[in-house]
Symmetry: C2
Subunit: 446 residues, 2 copies
């Protein structure tokens, strides 16, 4: 890393005036910031200048590198075979990690997955895992390696020493209105993923009402930046643009999503969930060198569900991480939420639109998510949809069932749900779930 | 003032996205910042957003108001007559305050002048005043009013309690590359000037190599913003765009500029100095209600020099503020700098260009200015020019004489001066000093 010294004001001015910063200049800013030699107020001025004047792909790559090297970078080279991970930009009902990781690992491609907790309208993988009684996501590095070697997969939380500069920078962006910048988002994602010691990465970049990227155009830009950074670090990186105009699957909420994932691993997954899962898992199997093509990988992914090897892999992992597998095989053993309610509407027709964001917020209201970092989640809370876009619904038919341990939240959740469904006389055409693939060769329609 | 509460992140985002902030939103930011409830890192993100997306005139006016009300606002209404001040954006050799204030005050128009110290290549009025033995610029409010009542003018330093928000904001802008923003500069100037309790204001907005505004276009934009803010506060405000392509007059340095000012007050001022002085002073006399028009004011300004009333007024003020008037009448009584040197060049022809910035920096090097706020100035240090643009010079003729008490600085000063003069075979046309007037009716060529 560069240890050349610069005048921070000169660097801020350069970005302010629309110039590009050199790799060593960005390294200087991040190094100084990490060791508290650069104050927050200079970093936030730089971030706003970077937000408004953009960082180019070279700068985003330099920022990724600087944040990556601000902490520990895992070296998994002593674990045989390719290490392939997947990252999703997050969406409502997105439980894909729990389904695709065991599919991929069941082909002996290692999946060293480090995940986060949910905040706001989207859930976090860690919260879902922890809804399984006994499942431990806080494992030390030695145990992490051990699980990965034995099960070919591991699902853990980020430790303090992975990309600490990213953590500080993200917190600062959050309070200075500099979050929604594609190069800053991409650098943040990639610095954490590259710190995992992976060989290749598949990205699920979602767009639509329930996603952080509201438009396909923004999702494409983010995907292109992520792929450019990944390839710049010599890691094969493939991104898919996927539709998040409605929640993924039918179940939203931590334990509810575990349930739906287990159903999916046993061949009972909803169509939309399986379409995205097989595309991502198939690509990971291919990147891991266990399929001749993505198409072959997708075929293998479907086989792993059909023949039960993926579900077996999940049970193996759950045992490795201390989880209770009996509830996974028999949901009735799980302690349900105390209250449930049915959400109905008084019109009939076809559901033509669903506001995934609102459904995510209603689920959060019931206890499935966090409004602030300090909130605790209710593992059993959430929403089970009974209809999706394209479904025909009758008057007073139940569209969703809500679950919660907080009775007082029900009215507010219903109020939010009341605006989440659009019902019309004429049905709409089904939208494809995976619309585009972005890799080093460019963007391809699917 | 507004005490409505807002989410700071929402306000930063609004400016980031190019929207205008309401008066009460800007008031909220400044109030919170002043009472340490809004951290530096949020203010600097806001400042960078304001720098890049601009503040409109309404926002600049709101910012001025908020900073003005962050501290004490003088009420001079019990002092009879109009109170008129002048502000200059600063230039090399700009000693005009010392000449025009006594001219204006000699017509019983009150001039309550609060000035600053110099930093960088331009000098500060306070440093010039303090080069007069005994002259006190730190006077308390009671004494300030007393001097103003008796002498019709007072020249003092800014106290801590005038626009404290501006002081903090300026310090933050300095370290976050957000200084050179016209609306931010204008708000900073006007918040301090309006806090003086004035009725009208004349602004000298300089452009050229020695000025902060390098181009006439930027100077015009700044002048227009300053006038718009002043008029928004119900104060008659007139700005002039003046040329700073070479130093004003021949003498640069604190005591040297006092000398030239005294010469000017006694009818021996350089042509360029007098042209700007009479324009500004004439306008102030008119704004103060002691002339029928600006032209009449200019006539009166010239008279005040000719008949000695302006010089007498200066001597009166100097005595009020504790200064030694004997040195003003006889420069030989002043203790000169220990070292002096002549600067010559080895070509001949006409001086067609002069780099006022470099001459200012050479003077600073000799001790006349400050590189950092903590530096002390040498009152006797500086440069006396022997030629200006349009002068014909012979080989090895002296272009300037330098004065200093720091022998070691001479070589560096000479090095800087070596690039400050352009000598060519063909002479250039003389440029007018005052090019435009900006007032509430618009911009007018002069």
């Amino acid at each position: 890393m560069a240890s050349k010294s610069f005048n921070p004001v000169t660097l801020i001015r350069k970005k302010r005036d629309g110039q590009s910063l050199a790799r060593e200049e960005i390294a200087f800013l991040i190094e100084e910031y990490t060791k508290d030699a650069l104050p927050d107020y200079q970093m936030s001025a730089f971030l706003m200048a970077a937000f408004l004047n953009q960082l180019d792909e070279r700068e985003a790559s330099a920022l990724t590198e600087a944040m990556l090297h601000s902490g520990k970078v895992l070296d998994l080279s002593d674990i045989p075979g390719k290490k392939v991970d997947k990252h999703s930009t997050g969406g409502v009902g997105d439980k894909l990690s729990l389904i695709l990781a065991p599919i991929v690992a069941s082909y002996d491609v290692s999946v060293p997955m480090i995940s986060g907790r949910g905040l706001g309208h989207t859930g976090g993988t860690l919260d879902k895992l922890e809804s399984i009684p006994g499942f431990k996501v806080d494992v030390d590095l030695e145990r992490y390696r051990q699980i990965l070697s034995r099960a070919k997969m591991v699902m853990a939380g980020q430790t303090e020493d992975v990309a600490p500069a990213d953590k500080r920078l993200y917190a600062l962006r959050d309070v200075t209105a500099t979050v929604e910048s594609i190069p800053l988002i991409a650098s943040s994602i990639m610095s954490k993923k590259l710190a995992e010691g992976i060989d290749a990465l598949v990205l699920d970049v979602k767009f639509g009402s329930g996603a952080f990227m509201k438009t396909r155009k923004d999702a494409q830009k983010l995907a292109e930046t992520l792929v450019a950074i990944g390839e710049d670090f010599g890691k094969q990186t493939v991104a898919y643009l996927t539709n998040m105009n409605q929640p993924l699957g039918y179940k939203i909420g931590n334990w509810l999503e575990v349930e739906e994932s287990m159903e999916a691993l046993q061949g009972q997954g909803p169509e939309d969930v399986m379409e995205v899962t097989h595309t991502l898992a198939g690509t990971m199997i291919w990147l891991g060198g266990r399929a001749e093509s993505v198409e072959d990988g997708i075929k293998k992914s479907k086989q792993a569900v059909k023949n039960g090897q993926a579900f077996d892999k999940w049970l193996e992992l759950t045992e490795e991480q201390g989880g209770d597998t009996s509830v996974l095989k028999d949901f009735s053993k799980y302690s349900k939420a105390e209250y449930s309610f049915e959400f109905t509407i008084s019109v009939e027709g076809y559901i033509t639109e669903m506001d995934a964001y609102s459904i995510g917020m209603a689920s959060l209201e019931l206890g499935a998510g966090r409004k602030t970092k300090e909130d605790e989640v209710d593992p059993a809370a959430g929403i089970e949809l009974k209809a999706k876009i394209g479904s025909s619904v009758k008057k007073n038919e139940t569209l969703a069932v809500g679950f919660t341990n907080n009775k007082k939240a029900i009215d507010e959740a219903k109020k939010i749900l009341a605006n989440a469904f659009t019902v019309e006389d004429t049905n709409v055409n089904k939208q494809p779930m995976v619309t585009h693939r972005v890799d080093k060769h460019g963007i391809h329609e699917i």
